[in-house]
C-alpha cells in the first residue's frame, strides 16, 4: 500500500450540487466526473491538454479536466455541459444556436466547445469574432471545421437572435 492508493475525501459542487467522495489522489477531475458521478457528457480526447474535449468551468474559469486531479478541485465549484441548460427539457441560447447553425457533426468536441464558449459569453456577453476564435483556440474539432461554431456563438449573442 502506497500513497497512490490512499483515499482522500473531497467535496465538489458540480452543476450546483454538492458531491462528496473518497478518491485516489491520482484520479483526474475528468475521470471523477465521468466515473464517480456518471457525468459522461464531459469527454476524454487526448488526455494531455491538447484537444479541449474535457473542458469544464472550474471556479469561473475554463480548464482542462484531464490535466488536473480531482483532489485539486476539493472545495470548488465545477460546471459541465450537463449544467448549461437553464432547466430540464430546455436548451440554453448557446446550445440552441449550435443546433440552429449546425455547429456539430459527430458531437465529440461539442461539450468542450460549449463550455469554452459559454465561459466567454459569461465574461463578454457580446463577443467579437476574434474573441470567439480566441476562446476556442484550445479546442479541436475534426468534422465541422470552426466556421459554424463561430457562427453559432455570434448568433447566440447577437441582439436579434430569437430563442425557443
Amino acid at each position: 500500500m502506497n500513497d497512490l492508493n490512499r483515499l482522500v475525501n473531497i467535496r465538489i459542487a458540480v452543476n450546483g450540487r454538492e458531491h462528496q467522495r473518497a478518491v485516489e489522489p491520482r484520479m483526474t477531475l475528468v475521470d471523477f466526473l465521468r466515473d464517480e458521478l456518471g457525468l459522461t457528457g464531459t469527454h476524454v480526447g487526448c488526455e494531455h491538454g491538447v484537444c479541449g474535449a474535457c473542458t469544464v468551468v472550474f471556479d469561473g474559469e475554463p480548464v482542462r479536466s484531464c490535466c488536473m486531479f480531482a483532489v485539486q478541485a476539493d472545495g470548488s465549484s465545477v460546471t459541465t455541459v450537463e449544467g448549461l441548460a437553464p432547466e430540464r427539457g430546455k436548451l440554453s441560447p448557446l446550445q440552441d444556436a449550435f443546433c440552429e447553425k449546425h455547429a456539430l457533426q459527430c458531437g465529440y468536441c461539442t461539450p468542450g466547445m460549449l463550455v469554452a464558449c459559454q465561459s466567454l459569453i459569461d465574461r463578454v456577453p457580446h463577443p467579437t469574432e476574434t474573441q470567439v476564435r480566441e476562446a476556442i483556440s484550445g479546442n479541436l474539432c475534426r468534422c465541422t471545421g470552426y466556421k459554424q461554431i463561430i457562427d453559432a456563438v455570434l448568433y447566440a449573442t447577437s441582439q436579434d437572435a430569437s430563442h425557443g
Binding site: 450537463e82 436548451l91 465529440y108
Partner: protein, 62 residues
Amino acid sequence: MAEAQFRYIGKHRRAVEHRRFVLGQGHFAADVRRHDTLHVAIIASPYASARIAKIESSAALA
C-alpha cells in the same frame, strides 16, 4: 422540378441528434457502462526470444 417542390433540398433543417449532443447526452463507446465489463492489458515481453516459464497474475487480480 421546381425548387418549391423539394422537401429537403435547399431547406434549413435541424439534425435530430444535435439536441442530445448539446445536452451532453451523446452515448459514445467510452460512455458505455456495464457492470460485468472485463478489462484487458497487453504487456510486451522485454525479451526478443524466450520461453514463458510461469505467469504470475496474483498482483494483477488483487
